[in-house]
């Protein structure tokens, strides 16, 4: 057991746990942040995706012991108060979900993609998102949502607003 200081969504949390514990388990069971989902436990489905140092990571295969002090963003930390992140808004606008269990992982991956590549081609979106599974099959809508979010963030009018 170890005491680990985690920086999640801008807040510091202190958890006493085995450093080998996965970040996903820590988020869900210790911090009650259940927006990140379990889907496979082996980094294959992307439902558990969070941002660590701004990069998309599979929290189910990331050990919490390596994360002390590194900024972690989960789906719960994406909106600014009532103002949704453009990617969240675009998913709503495009109806890019059915059961939506994959949605938080999809959104977190898309946020990471757009941070790195603000105007990705369709091919780049498909390749980057290929590690995220949607069993309901809403892939084409998710692609449209990411394209829309890219436009929103690029548009000077929308920049900095909730849209």
């Amino acid at each position: 057991m170890a005491t680990i200081h985690l920086s999640v969504n801008g807040h510091t949390h202190t958890v006493d746990t085995d450093p080998q514990t996965s970040l996903l388990t820590t988020l869900r069971e210790y911090l009650d942040l259940t927006g990140s989902k379990y889907g496979c436990g082996e980094g294959q489905c992307g439902a558990c995706t969070v941002l660590i140092d701004g990069k998309a990571q599979r929290s189910c295969i990331t050990r919490v012991g390596s994360l002390a002090g590194r900024p972690i963003t989960t789906i719960e930390g994406l909106a600014l108060g009532d103002h949704l992140h453009p990617v969240q808004q675009a998913f709503l606008d495009e109806g890019a979900m059915q059961c939506a269990y994959c949605t938080s992982g999809m959104i977190m991956s898309a946020v990471a993609l757009l941070q790195k590549t603000p105007t990705p081609s369709k091919r780049a979106i498909i390749d980057f998102m290929d590690g995220n599974i949607c069993r309901c099959g809403t892939y084409s809508r998710i692609i449209r949502a990411i394209q829309k979010a890219a436009k929103m963030t690029q548009s000077p009018v929308a920049k900095g607003s909730d849209q």
């Binding site: 746990t17 085995d18 514990t21 388990t25 869900r28 069971e29 009650d32 942040l33 259940t34 927006g35 990140s36 989902k37 379990y38 889907g39 496979c40 436990g41 082996e42 294959q44 489905c45 439902a47 989960t74 789906i75 719960e76 994406l78 909106a79 949704l84 969240q88 808004q89 998913f91 709503l92 606008d93 109806g95 979900m97 059915q98 059961c99 939506a100 269990y101 994959c102 949605t103 938080s104 959104i107 979106i125 498909i126 390749d127 998102m129 290929d130 995220n132 599974i133 949607c134 069993r135 309901c136 099959g137 809403t138 892939y139 084409s140 809508r141 998710i142 692609i143």
Partner: protein, 726 residues
């Protein structure tokens, strides 16, 4: 508790469940309604006797209280809030939205003012379950009637208050208005102090689909914001104070018996590390642990040493021979008919110009709902409450009552909107496990299956063999059709082509794997065989496959979807090298689908790529066009897996590829260009769309592969070997 903690799932359970006796439990009487919901107006929907027989299994319990065959009710409170109670559940098919639209349309209140309470066995009326594409044709219609009746009551209240005639008043936007006298009153004011309860009148006029304003529109998911912010709590996200995490010991193989189990090390571990907050539970074959974290529970479980004994079992090598050999002249009394015969097949075969005898197969596949089974259970004395993800909350309540030898009214099952089901969540395994562990721990316990558990201990879509023998004349008229399905099921087994001589038989087989419902059920297998065979017959008589189908098809609705899809696809256009076009379609769950596929087969690598898929679908009057498109696109994407590469591999009672790194499901890179045509028939009652759109895809792809390279593939999945044609 009995050692057998799971209830065996019969094949295609919903078809059996249509006949299963329902346990009506509805303990609220008229006064309870108002005590529970508060003052206002309540309209209660009671199924007609004919509908009851179909929906709930028949039977009527007469008594002092309200009729027992209630399927929904609606309450308008003193503040104007509308609450609708239905036993249907949300697993991603978006019925929370489409049912809200139905109520909004008839009651004339904005969708945002409507709350749906769904799938809570204490608060909602009995419902058999959410499957079989039944919500739209039954519950949507029923809620429209309920809302229309509530609107009539509200207008009546306003008329009484103003001493006006009802026909001069109109309901709109949450208000009743008297345009002639320029006065209006909102629903909140009208319901204030009222305690009006009405059962749904037998006759009531509904707004025709052609005049719909809210229904028929693409309303976004009503609680979508909760999903994009991570706020929604799925079953696996539920927590309670003092909750523990449970894990259950799994047998080494299916049907294995426990020879010996040593829990000493686990008990010592529990005692040493989590004293007082962890425990090991042993009850017959059931062995489980609870601990303060899931990790601790897994560690304790791993410290249990068990020895299992199992008999040699059928493996997927040799499966299809087994299914054919072991087939009884099966009875599937509730399917589309286990044996249908008309004319004389043998004579017609003898006189036909061409015969064709072919065998088609489908593999077992897994549902892989992204949220695995999960349940949180809590005991208060002898009262049990369970939150779980299931398409049959009332069925799970029954399973819990049976497992714990208790009356159903001491069990409450709640179903938070769940991370999908696809027919795979009809059973209550985790509910029973969590409840057993919670009873031992005397604290709430949550059980969430791992992906590996979900693969191995849920159930599969049945594998099957289809033998088809047919006879056709030179002019393309099919004269004989003999169709045998072994094990996969009878859904969609009957042909919609006009054939004078038919013999169609479903053979039930003892399945080596636990099998059950799946989106579209056996209709996928039966359509794959039928529509592939139609393509083979067309080539046998050298006719265009579309022309050949239309020559043998009278059903106007089905013709319409084939013709619409063909036009959009550009059927008949010339093709390039390695390119192939194919179609498949049919009729299932009251909907009509035609799917056209374009594939490309790489001539050197023999790799198949599905380039473009066009589906034309007709399900009567459309309730939510965007939601419907989403279902059709989703069916085609999910269907790609079963068509191209999904197959469960198993040997001697063990699943060999039960992880997502081993079992391939469709991903972004598999996505073809999808086009969807909706045929809106406002003159035909709305039916469901969660299943039918799936059935045309596999034969369309198989037929397109043949068109591209002349190789006829008759087994699903078609190209499991890295998409390569062997």
């Amino acid at each position: 508790m009995s050692a057998k903690t799971t209830i065996a799932t019969p094949m295609e359970p919903e078809r059996y469940e249509l006949r299963a006796a329902a346990s009506y439990r509805f303990d609220l009487d008229r006064r309870d309604f108002f005590k529970f919901l508060g003052a206002g107006v309540i309209v209660v929907s009671v199924l007609k006797p004919a509908a009851i027989a179909q929906e709930s299994g028949g039977g009527r319990r007469q008594g002092e209280s309200l009729p027992q065959e209630i399927d929904a009710w609606l309450h308008i409170g003193e503040k104007g809030k509308v609450t609708v109670f239905t036993g249907k559940v949300e697993v991603g098919q978006n019925i929370r939205t489409s049912l809200s639209q139905a109520v909004s349309e008839e009651l004339h209140v904005p969708v945002e003012q409507i709350e749906l309470v769904m799938g809570d066995t204490q608060l909602t009326p009995f419902d058999m379950g959410t499957f079989g594409s039944r919500t739209t044709p039954t519950m949507n219609l029923q809620l429209r009637k309920v809302a229309a009746a509530a609107r009539t009551i509200l207008i009546g209240l306003a008329a009484a208050q103003w001493n006006a005639q009802t026909e001069h008043l109109v309901a709109e936007n949450g208000k009743v208005t008297d345009p002639q006298n320029n006065r209006s009153s909102d629903y909140a004011a009208l319901t204030k102090g009222q305690r009006l309860l009405q059962t749904l009148p037998a006759e009531g006029s509904l707004i025709p689909a052609a005049e719909w304003k809210v229904a028929g529109q693409s309303i976004p998911k009503v609680n979508g914001r909760d999903f994009v912010t991570g706020k929604h709590r799925y079953p696996s996200d539920q927590t309670l104070p003092d909750m523990l995490y449970g894990k259950v010991l799994r047998p080494a193989a299916f049907d294995a018996t426990l020879v010996s189990v040593d829990t000493q090390q686990a008990e010592q571990m529990v005692e040493r590390n989590w004293h007082g907050s962890a425990t090991v539970v042993r009850d017959g074959n059931f062995v489980g642990v609870v601990a303060p974290t899931s990790q601790a529970a897994s560690a304790a479980l791993a410290a249990i040493h068990a020895e299992w004994k199992s008999e040699p079992q059928i493996s997927n090598q040799g499966l299809f021979d087994y299914l054919r050999k072991d087939a009884a002249q099966g009875r599937d009394p509730s399917g589309d008919g286990d044996h249908y015969e008309t004319g004389s097949v043998d004579q017609a075969l003898a006189s036909a110009d061409h015969h064709l005898k072919r065998t088609y197969t489908v593999a077992y596949i897994a549902h892989v709902p992204l949220e695995p089974r999960a349940a949180l259970a809590k005991w208060d004395g002898d009262q049990l409450t369970v939150w779980t993800g299931t398409q049959r909350p009332f069925g799970v309540r029954g399973q819990l009552a049976e497992a714990f030898h208790m009356p159903e009214d001491q069990v409450r099952v709640l179903m938070p909107d769940t991370g999908s089901g696809y027919g795979g969540k009809h059973t209550g395994e985790t509910a029973i496990e969590a409840a057993r562990l919670a009873r031992a721990a005397k604290r709430p316990v949550k059980v969430v299956w791992t992906r590996e558990e979900e693969f191995a201990w849920a159930y599969f879509r049945p594998a099957g063999v289809m033998d088809v023998t047919s006879g056709v004349r030179n002019d393309g008229t099919i004269v004989a059709w003999e169709f045998h399905n072994y094990n996969s099921g009878s859904a969609g087994i009957r042909t919609y082509y006009e054939i004078p001589n038919q013999r169609i038989v479903f053979h039930e087989v003892h399945s080596p794997l636990r099998q059950g419902s799946y989106r579209a059920l056996a209709a996928t297998a039966n359509h794959f065989a039928r529509e592939s065979h139609m393509d083979e017959l067309a080539h046998a008589v050298k006719m265009d496959p579309l022309e050949f189908r239309l020559k043998n098809l009278k059903n106007e609705r089905l013709r319409a979807v084939f013709e619409a899809a063909a036009k959009q696809f550009g059927w008949g256009k010339s093709k390039g090298s390695g390119q192939g076009f194919g179609m498949g379609g049919g009729y299932e769950k009251l909907g009509n689908i035609a799917t056209f596929a374009e594939v490309k087969v790489d001539q050197r690598s023999r790799e198949v790529m599905v380039v473009r898929v066009i589906s034309a679908f007709e399900c009567g009057a459309i309730v939510n066009p965007d939601g419907l498109r989403n279902q059709i696109e989703g069916s085609n994407v999910m269907g790609l897996g079963g068509a191209l590469f999904e197959a469960i591999e198993f040997e001697n009672g063990k699943i060999l590829n039960g992880r997502l790194s081993q079992y391939r499901v469709p991903r972004f890179t598999d996505l073809p260009a999808l086009e969807t045509l909706l045929l809106d028939r406002k003159d035909i009652p709305s039916v469901g769309a969660g299943e039918c759109p799936m059935i045309g895809l596999a034969p369309a792809i198989a037929n397109a592969i043949f068109d591209a390279c002349g190789v006829r593939l008759r087994a699903l999945p078609l190209v499991p070997n890295g998409l390569k044609i062997n």
